[in-house]
Symmetry: C2
Subunit: 201 residues, 2 copies
Amino acid sequence: MKRNTPDSEWSTAEKEILDATYSALLKHGYADLSITRIGEELDKSNSSIYHHYDTKTDLLNTLLEFTIDQFMLQIKTQPTNDPAEELNTLLTDLLPPDASERPQLQVVLVCFRSQAVSDEEVRAQFTQIDQRLAATIQEIIRRGISQGVFREVDASQVTEHLLAMITGVAHNSLTTDRDDAASLARASVASYIESELKQSG
Amino acid sequence: MKRNTPDSEWSTAEKEILDATYSALLKHGYADLSITRIGEELDKSNSSIYHHYDTKTDLLNTLLEFTIDQFMLQIKTQPTNDPAEELNTLLTDLLPPDASERPQLQVVLVCFRSQAVSDEEVRAQFTQIDQRLAATIQEIIRRGISQGVFREVDASQVTEHLLAMITGVAHNSLTTDRDDAASLARASVASYIESELKQSG
């Protein structure tokens, strides 16, 4: 089931089906998806979906894998001489101030996440995402500390704080109609980084 | 569908069924629940469930309503002369350092939350939860500021920060196997409150 293929190795037909799955997921939710409903989002008969995927579960797992592939590419930052700016760029991608600006792949992750409470396979995938994201953030913070840009904080504690904010803001803004939630939280993260991480002066 | 009844007005039979629904939810996840699977958790035949509930959706909605009733009671704090301690008590309830210590009702909310991306009714319920929780936290912070216990912070911004932490830590700890996540985040929230909110000296 697991596929570690770069974006270009997903065929056009596969991507069309995954795109239709995403549209159906947004309309009906994870629990109420069906191959028929995915087919309705696609300019093809259901049989063309079954040509690629055996079951709805198969198709949903593939969408999650595809999304994780993309997400891992997104958070892969190139080390620069400016760790503060790297952290800012990463957080700007992951904490858009408006739910409607949130990239599709982040929406898919929110749609799937609840399933990880009970599904071991999905849980392993979210463990992998959070581990990778934590490692990325922690590496930037440690580099910033060693360069004297950041204060000598407990890097693993600050990392966990930011990771919880990233997950929390995504869920709070996509699962409620509280329109200010994301922008207030984003501003608050910026001031947290100023006061907690940055060297004064 | 909406019921605003206190705990005591839920009958024993109803509570037994809701408890079985909770057990089945943890085993199979929201998407793969069925009346048959709920019946397996109960010492009764399925027909007794159908006597109380027409459909699986009906039963799941009732579990969510019951959970929200309980949750609203839990976060209803009595104003005291010590807002700092009130906030600490609330956060200790909502941010247990170990996922296994998390109360059942908070686990149910995590199991349901993804569904709110696409389901308007569930979304309205999570909007209501977050609004109530935000109002509770913000009232404590404002009282602390007026008493000179807390600094003159932007109360709505700090509230949104804490709300995102509460949602984020619940999801990160219940949907992954990163065992340290919750305790590190809890420690980090404590130090955030020390440095952001508390008056020095």
